[in-house]
């Protein structure tokens, strides 16, 4: 057997090992029910901001804490504590992905991804006279 073949076998072994560890190491998408059944485990939760409830951001007290209520895809509502500053334009978000863990009565997120209104919001064509005319 040639050294090249040995090298190839080693490579294949590393690839398989890497795949298995990557899968084991990965976190997963879940809803609030699953996250609260497994407190302190990390999950990605997708949902929508509940605009009817108050959002609390008191930067003078703690600029790295922002509280709001989110509904997950199954419409379960949960208090969320984001340990970051309030994202700019948060109110406009259409969809939120939280990364964090359930603790007590709240979901504590250390990362947030927002989907803002897509490029195709209905009736966006501006009818104002353009400056050229």
């Amino acid at each position: 057997m040639k050294k090249t073949h040995i090298a190839l076998i080693v490579v294949i072994a590393i690839l398989i090992g890497a795949m298995i560890t990557a899968i084991n190491d990965s976190s997963s998408y879940a809803d609030f029910a699953e996250a609260f059944d497994n407190p302190e485990a990390e999950f990605h939760v997708v949902g929508k901001l509940n605009r009817d409830k108050d959002m609390t951001y008191d930067p003078q007290n703690n600029p790295d804490e922002f509280m709001f209520y989110m509904m997950d895809m199954n419409n379960r509502e949960q208090k969320v504590v984001l340990h970051k500053s309030k994202p700019q334009d948060f109110e406009r978000s259409e969809q939120i992905v939280l990364i964090g863990q359930a603790k007590g009565d709240a979901f504590h997120a250390h990362e947030i991804l927002m989907k803002c209104p897509s490029k195709y919001t209905e009736g966006e064509v501006t009818a104002e006279a353009s400056t050229n005319t």
């Binding site: 890497a18 600029p63 790295d64 500053s85 700019q88 490029k119 353009s130 050229n132």
Partner: protein, 796 residues
């Protein structure tokens, strides 16, 4: 209805170009393929005609679309969607490739340019190579056709889709106006893309992607002709050209992210970034295998594997970013245009073509005659190519989680902070790669004299050990993995420098490998130092300790600055001085001070992190960075209140006696005395009028005293009139409204303005040490790659 303002001719011209380009690529593909099969000159000529027609038409398409953007034909959906009248001219180019159609178009344009250079220079390889290139073009143009076949829309065409015919907008009342074109403005460019990096980065990356077609076309040609080795020679310089272009393109993306995105760094392992890095890694692997092949011979299978997979990964990158499959895992992917099916077909076609041709020829691949020695250069070059492949695979695998989830219904997601997740995976590869880079040049082909090898390496080893130890001590680096990378990357830089000076005598000839490797070593060094030693200097000001919640929550990363307060932050004292609005930007002025010898604070510099306001697409915070030679201070606004607080003035009635005090929100005032001689002060008073003044002393927030004397006047001793007095600095207006003789009290009304709201910002500041090493490394590496190409061209 007839719309006289619409220019429909230009769209038709563009459309004709598209159809001609599509037909031309088909003709060229088939004719060149037949030329290869039959060896008939006639087919060859037909193929050339096809490709030239195709090239002219693609150039025509690009020019037409530019013309339409320049002349602002907003009646076309693409133009309306990506530009508007307010946009500065310099960003016109960004509008072109902001959409999928434009970016495909520029990509096909690069293929055409490369194809035109190739078809004059490929000589005996012309038929199969050009046939492959035309086939790629055929697939790409099908995505620009915009023709409906049996209810399936093939591609998306920027020339045919009018705004008023677009399903989302056709019902709008504005289109009842025949002259709507006069009243319409475009939607404009995404504010994130209004940046000079965005003018050059996308076409550069697309050019890099485009270069992958040449080695791929040669490899397929080699497989078709069963000339498994001969194709390597012409493909080699093109591969290194691609490595240079794509490498610089990818790092430009990093520079853009660092300059204008506020995630705090130059690399976020975003799926879109990964998608562009991965083909670069395999391309580097393929290029090095080709080098071994030219010198000694290499496993033909791995050569074909890496060359074809590079092209397939480029197609995969295009699929990831353009199909919308990344969804919520990436901030900057395109929205789905319904082309997913087509993208998948194109991707699978080229993957299966490669797999099929490799499989049927596998048995015929020449085997290597001799066993390579473990001390030979070719063995270790082979190993490093495989490492590139493995690293590419690992990054791809995690990046593909959304795809895997779609295919198998799983719920995989990368855990923890994405950046840490990938850094942890990729660091071991970086250490090994750097080590191989360091020793590679000192190894000889076939067999190395190990005594000489260690002797040669000794000096660089000593130098880099010194560098490692001093950096580790100064920067307090303790992590053994980081220290290993620190050592191997500085060894890579120093040993290649040593090789260049000692063995090549500093000559440029044949120095390309050393130079590129010095660059790569420095790049890794810069990445390591700036990433691991970066320090968030803006920390939480509150007393509330959030780190008790767990390790994940110790991110006290932001500082709150009230206007004109001065707070300590890292080595500096910072003060937020105010904001300036300019067009749709708000610039926040933040002053950085340091104490001088006399102990007084002295201004060092001012940074203006800013917010870009865009009501249509959301506001964007953009960073502002102070560059030093050895470090950068990078800041961005995390939060700022955009609307002024709309608080109303308050009005209160008080009934008090002499000597009493009225308290307001920010001040208090004492009713000292009645001034019966007030009549004299008030000039508007007639002889019969009676005026009484109430004398007050007001103390404001700063305990400054002010005098106030509002008057109560009885005109003709009958009709009451009030003359109020005010202190604007304190925001107080006081009026004397009446006298109550029974209670012996006097009635006053205090109108108080809302206290002036103190403006504040929440800001993040990070120090990146040694980031310039990264940029310098990047430039040197690019130079090295292009030097390699230049030397190969000259040798011919």
């Amino acid at each position: 209805m007839i719309y006289p303002g619409e220019n429909l001719v230009i769209g038709q011209i563009g459309n004709i170009f598209t159809v001609v380009a599509f037909a031309g690529s088909f003709l060229s593909m088939v004719a060149y393929f037949m030329a290869e099969k039959t060896q008939d000159e006639g087919y060859l000529r037909l193929g050339r005609i096809g490709f030239l027609t195709h090239s002219l038409a693609v150039v025509g398409m690009v020019s037409t679309l530019f013309f339409m953007i320049f002349n602002q034909y907003f009646e076309y959906h693409y133009i309306w969607q990506h530009s508007n009248t307010e946009m500065p001219m310099k960003y016109i180019f960004s509008c072109f490739w902001e959409g999928i159609e434009g970016s495909f178009m520029i990509w096909t344009f690069w293929h055409v340019i490369l194809g035109l250079i190739l078809y004059r220079s490929v000589r005996e390889w012309e038929a199969p190579v050009m046939s492959v290139i035309s086939a790629v073009q055929f697939f790409m143009l099908s995505m620009l056709l915009g023709v409906v076949f049996f209810d399936y829309k093939l591609g998306s065409n920027p020339f045919t889709m009018l705004l008023r015919e677009h399903p989302d907008f056709s019902a709008l009342p504005i289109f009842e106006n025949p002259n709507y074109t006069d009243a319409i403005d475009g939607r404009g460019l995404n504010p994130l893309l209004q940046n000079y990096w965005m003018v050059i980065h996308p076409p550069f990356v697309l050019f890099g992607y485009a270069t992958a077609i040449i080695p791929f076309a040669y490899a397929i040609a080699g497989l078709l002709r069963k000339q498994f080795i001969e194709w390597v020679k012409p493909a080699l310089s093109w591969t290194f050209f691609g490595i240079g272009v794509l490498g610089i393109g990818v790092l430009m993306g990093g520079a853009w992210a660092y300059e204008s995105l506020s995630f705090g760094g130059f690399w976020a392992w975003d799926p879109v970034e990964n998608a562009s890095l991965v083909p670069w890694l395999t391309m580097v692997g393929a290029g090095h295998l080709m080098l071994i092949q030219r010198k000694k011979g290499v496993s033909v299978f791995s050569l074909f594997l890496l060359t074809t997979i590079t092209f397939c990964l480029v197609q995969y990158a295009s699929f990831l970013t353009k199909s919308g499959v990344l969804g919520d895992t990436s901030v900057h992917s395109f929205t789905d245009l319904g082309m997913t099916g087509q993208l998948v077909v194109s991707l699978l076609f080229f993957c299966f073509l490669s797999i099929y041709l490799i499989a049927v020829n596998f048995k015929k691949f020449p085997s290597q005659e001799s066993e390579e020695s473990i001390t030979s250069r070719e063995f270790w070059m082979f190993v490093s190519s495989l490492i590139m492949f493995v690293a590419a695979f690992i990054i791809s695998f995690s990046t593909s989680f959304p795809v895997i989830n779609k295919l198998f219904g799983t719920n995989l997601a990368t855990s923890g902070e994405r950046i840490d997740y990938y850094n942890q995976w990729i660091t071991p590869f970086a250490i090994i790669t750097a080590l191989l880079l360091a020793i590679g040049q000192f190894l000889k082909y076939t067999k190395t004299d190990m005594k000489m090898f260690w002797k040669n390496l000794a000096i660089s080893g000593l130098v880099s050990a010194t560098i490692t130890i001093s950096i580790a001590i100064i920067m307090e680096m303790r992590n053994p993995i980081y220290i290993s990378l620190l050592f191997t990357s500085s060894l890579a830089a120093t040993s290649n420098t040593a090789y260049w000076i000692l063995f090549l005598k500093g000559k440029m000839k044949a120095a390309s490998a050393s130079i590129a490797h010095i660059g790569f070593g420095l790049l890794l060094l810069g990445v390591l130092i700036s990433t691991t030693q970066s320090e968030v200097i803006s920390s939480n000001t509150s007393l509330y300790d959030i780190s008790v919640l767990g390790d994940d929550f110790s991110n006290n990363e932001n500082i709150l600055l009230m206007q004109d307060d001065t707070l300590i932050m890292g080595d500096f004292f910072v003060s937020y001085r105010g904001k300036k609005e300019e067009d749709n930007f708000i610039h926040y002025e933040v002053e950085y001070m340091q104490p001088n010898k006399e102990g007084k604070l002295e201004k060092q510099f001012t940074l203006y992190p800013f917010l870009q306001l865009n009501p249509r697409m959301g506001n964007v915070a953009e960073p502002y960075t102070k560059h030093y030679l050895h470090k950068d201070i990078y800041t961005h606004i995390s939060y700022a209140e955009l609307e002024d607080r709309d608080e109303k003035a308050t009005s209160e009635e008080h009934s008090i006696g002499i000597g009493d005090t009225i308290f307001t929100k920010t001040s208090f005032m004492i009713f000292d005395s009645l001034d019966r001689k007030a009549t004299e002060k008030f000039t508007g008073i007639g002889a019969n009028d009676l005026a009484i003044g109430a004398h007050f002393t007001l103390y404001d927030v700063n305990t400054q005293a002010h005098e106030l004397t509002p008057l109560f006047v009885l005109q003709n001793r009958e009709f009451p009139m009030t003359v109020s007095d005010s202190i604007p600095e304190a925001g107080i207006r006081l009026s004397f409204e009446g006298i109550d003789p029974e209670k012996e009290s006097f009635n006053f009304r205090v109108v108080e303005e809302a206290p002036k709201f103190n403006d504040f910002i929440v800001m993040k500041a990070i120090v990146f040490p040694g980031i310039n090493i990264l940029w310098i490394g990047c430039i040197i590496m690019g130079l090295g790659s292009f030097l390699a190409v230049w030397q190969r061209i000259r040798r011919k």
